[in-house]
C-alpha cells in the first residue's frame, strides 16, 4: 500500500542527479532528474515514486502527515518499520495513476 510518506532530503549529489532521502529514519537514494536543478534543497520534504523524486511537499503539510504515520510506525519493530517504509515506494503496482 502506498502511504506516500514524506521523505526529507539529507544529501544531494554533486551533479544534482541523485539525492539521499531520509524517510522516518530509513535512508535511501532517489533520482532527482524529474526536478529542475535548484528546485530541491537539503532539508526539503519530497514525494517519491518508483525511485524518483516526483515533487516537493509543503513542509507544514509534510510534518502534519508524518505525525500521523509516526503513530503507526512506532507500534512496529525495527525490521517491520524498515520494510514498510521501503514497501511504500516499492509497490509492485506502481506505474499506475
Amino acid at each position: 500500500m502506498c502511504l506516500s510518506i514524506p521523505s526529507k532530503v539529507v544529501r544531494i549529489s554533486e551533479d544534482k542527479t541523485m539525492c539521499t532521502v531520509d524517510t522516518m529514519g530509513v535512508q535511501r537514494d532517489a533520482n532527482l532528474m524529474m526536478m529542475d536543478d535548484d528546485d530541491v534543497k537539503v532539508g526539503d520534504y519530497v514525494l517519491l515514486h518508483i525511485g524518483f523524486v516526483m515533487n516537493k511537499i509543503d513542509e507544514e503539510e509534510a510534518l502534519a502527515s508524518i505525525d500521523t504515520y509516526k503513530e503507526i510506525l512506532e507500534l512496529m519493530d525495527e525490521e517491520q518499520r524498515r520494510q514498510t517504509i521501503l514497501d511504500d515506494d516499492n509497490c509492485a503496482e506502481r506505474g499506475s495513476i
Binding site: 526536478m35 518508483i50 525511485g51 515533487n55 502534519a64 503496482e93
Partner: protein
C-alpha cells in the same frame, strides 16, 4: 510483546474515528441532496482503497461509486501486449517492463509465457534500471515497454534523456503512455450516448492524485467549466478519499461546480513544470489510441517525437509487429466495467472461469483492476 500484524495495524488506523466522522458528515449533507449522485474514481489506486476499506458500505444510499478506467494494465489492448510478446521473442532482445504487465494474456499468451519459451523478459521497479541492464548486456537490445499515465511518463522521458546524453547504443522504447483528461471526456461523451444498466451518469469525479502531482490540478479545469462535473483531486488514504467525497457532496448541496484539491500536501495547480517540459521534449500526442474495452479515444496516447524515431521500437521493428486490432473474450465485460457501466459481479464468469489465478480479462489480472479488487475483498455488491 505480541508482534502486530501490519495489516491489522493499517486496518485499525485507517478504519478509525476520522473515517467514521467523515461518514457522518457525508450522510448529513447527502440528506439534503435532491437526487442521488454518482461519483467516478478514475484511478485504480482509489478503487483499491474504496474496496479494501469497504467505503461503499459507509455511504448513504444516494451516493454511488462508479469505478473508472484508471489502471494502465487494465486498459492495454491485446494488440499492444502482442507487440510486447513479439518483441520479447526477437533474437537478442531483453524486454523490460513495470508492474503486472507481465501476466496479462495477449493472443499468443502473456509475457510470462514468452519467458517460459526462453524469452528474456524482466520486470523492473524503476525504468532507470534499464541503463544497468543495457550496460551489462552490450550485445543485446534492451526494449523498455513503457506503460502508465502522466505519473510515469516523465520517468520514461528521463530515461530517454539519459540514453541520449550517455550515448547508450542499445536501449529502445515501446511507448504505451496514455493521458487521463482525454479518457474522462470520452467517458462523459460515450455514457451520455449509451444507456447503462443503472441508467445513471457520471455526476462528479474523484481526481487521480499522482497524475496531478506531475500535471497539476489544472488538467481538470474543463470538467466543471465545460461539462458541469465537479472534480476533487484526492489522496489514496481512506481518510483522503472520504474527505474528497465529502467535498464533492458539499459542492452539490451548495450548488457549486468546481475543481478542488483535497490532496494539497503534494498537488499544486501547476504541477511539476520540469517534468512537463521533459514530456513535451520527447513525446507527441497520437491522434488515436485504442483503449481496451473503450475503443479509440482521440488524443489520449503518446508516442515518441519523429526526431527520436531511432529509439522507437515500433519504428525499428515495424516489419515484425502485428497490426490487427484484437477483441476481448466474448464473455468478458471489462469494457463496460472500465466505462463504469457494470460492476464485476455482473460478469457471468466472474469468480468462476475468471479469477486472479486464471484471469480471462485484465481487470482480473491487475491487482488494481476492479474485478481483482471485488474478488479479493469480497465486496459482492
Amino acid at each position: 510483546m505480541e508482534t502486530l500484524e501490519l495489516k491489522n495495524l493499517y486496518d485499525d488506523f485507517r478504519d478509525g474515528e476520522t473515517i467514521k466522522a467523515y461518514a457522518k458528515i457525508i450522510a448529513e449533507d447527502a440528506a439534503e441532496l435532491e437526487r442521488p449522485i454518482n461519483i467516478m474514481e478514475v484511478c485504480g489506486g482509489h478503487t483499491h482503497t474504496i474496496m479494501k476499506f469497504g467505503l461503499p458500505q459507509l455511504m448513504p444510499e444516494n451516493i454511488n461509486f462508479i469505478h473508472g478506467p484508471g489502471c494502465p494494465v487494465c486498459i492495454m489492448p491485446k494488440e499492444r501486449i502482442d507487440h510486447a510478446y513479439v518483441l520479447a521473442m526477437q533474437p537478442d532482445v531483453i524486454l523490460v517492463t513495470l508492474g503486472d504487465m507481465i501476466k496479462v494474456p495477449g493472443s499468443n499468451g502473456s509475457l510470462q509465457d514468452a519467458r517460459s519459451k526462453g524469452a528474456d523478459v524482466r520486470f523492473v521497479y524503476s525504468p532507470m534500471e534499464c541503463l544497468k541492464i543495457a550496460e551489462e548486456n552490450p550485445d543485446k537490445t534492451v526494449i523498455f515497454f513503457a506503460i502508465g499515465f502522466e505519473t510515469t511518463t516523465p520517468m520514461t522521458a528521463v530515461l530517454l534523456d539519459q540514453v541520449i546524453k550517455q550515448k547508450v547504443p542499445n536501449i529502445l522504447f515501446h511507448i504505451n503512455h496514455v493521458t487521463v483528461p482525454e479518457v474522462m471526456k470520452e467517458l462523459i461523451d460515450s455514457r451520455d450516448i449509451h444507456v447503462d444498466s443503472y441508467n445513471n451518469k457520471i455526476d462528479a469525479f474523484l481526481g487521480p492524485s499522482h497524475v496531478s502531482v506531475i500535471s497539476g490540478a489544472k488538467i481538470y479545469e474543463a470538467f466543471p467549466r465545460d461539462y458541469g462535473r465537479p472534480v476533487v483531486v484526492s489522496g489514496f488514504e481512506p481518510v483522503d478519499v472520504m474527505e474528497g467525497i465529502s467535498m464533492i457532496v458539499k459542492q452539490f448541496v451548495e450548488k457549486r461546480c468546481e475543481l478542488e484539491v483535497q490532496y494539497k500536501r503534494v498537488v499544486t495547480y501547476e504541477g511539476n513544470l520540469n517534468s512537463q517540459k521533459l514530456m513535451n521534449t520527447y513525446f507527441d500526442k497520437v491522434s488515436l489510441f485504442r483503449w481496451r474495452g473503450l475503443g479509440n479515444v482521440p488524443d489520449s496516447g503518446l508516442k515518441l517525437k519523429e526526431a527520436f524515431a531511432d529509439y522507437d521500437a515500433e519504428v525499428v521493428y515495424k516489419d515484425v509487429l502485428p497490426i490487427a486490432e484484437i477483441e476481448d473474450h466474448k464473455l468478458c465485460i471489462c469494457g463496460d466495467i472500465l466505462r463504469g457501466m457494470a460492476k464485476p459481479p455482473e460478469c457471468t464468469i466472474f469468480g468462476t472461469a475468471c479469477k486472479p489465478t486464471t484471469p480471462i480479462g485484465s481487470c482480473m489480472v491487475s491487482s488494481e483492476g476492479a474485478c481483482a479488487a471485488y474478488y479479493k475483498y469480497g465486496n459482492l455488491i
